[in-house]
Amino acid sequence: MAELNINERQAGDVTVLDMSGKITIGEGSVALRTAIRRLLEEGKKRILLNLAGVGYIDSSGIGELVSSYTAINKEGGQLKLLNLTQKLQDLLTITKLLTVFDVYESEADALNSFK
């Protein structure tokens, strides 16, 4: 089984990536990078990452989230995060990245925020 599984769906003009597994150095980080690059190439710039199923992330994975965020911003898009586990929220808090990312607990609220 892949380290990180990513399922893509469309909610209006927002692309939602439902992710499960680990975003760690190697396969997991690369999978996220590849998915975000592909979406940008397809012109999909409003992206919501549903991280409910991501039980583990390391510094490489955190770096990949930051890289995704800056790449999407650079293209005039928006990246938002949904359903952080407590552990991921703790990591984003201590790294002060919780002040950078737009984070939601409800998918409806997250989707509305893109409007």
Binding site: G26, D58, S59, S60, E64, V66, I94, T95, K96, V100
Partner: protein
Amino acid sequence: MTGETTELSLPSRIDTVATAAAAVAEFVGRSGISDDAAFGIDMAVREAVTNAVLHGNRQDEDKTVDIILKSSPDAVEISVHDQGPGFNPEAVPDPTAQENILKTSGRGIFFMRSFMDEVDWSIRPGGGTTVRMLKRR
């Protein structure tokens, strides 16, 4: 339990990070430490081994990453040794400083220090760097 020591010698490849983490998780599971502490140890070990593979040994498969795990009634101690030229941990910028928050790397040592009670580095006489990390029970 009175104590246990385990030694591992692993190749300098990215997949060694997961191998080391799995071995440490098994060791830590036997040591009877709390789940929260085990999570912190797992985070720190992954970062330490990543640094050893990438920055220490530069993925040279002729070089190994050597890990020593010790548990005692008071703590779990993990040492990760590489064969690289060494570095100054104090020279690594603070990733939480405003100008560094959006950097895509440089958080590994910060995580190690955040999740462990003691972290220190030493240069071995024979070459290489050892990071020693301690988590108290």
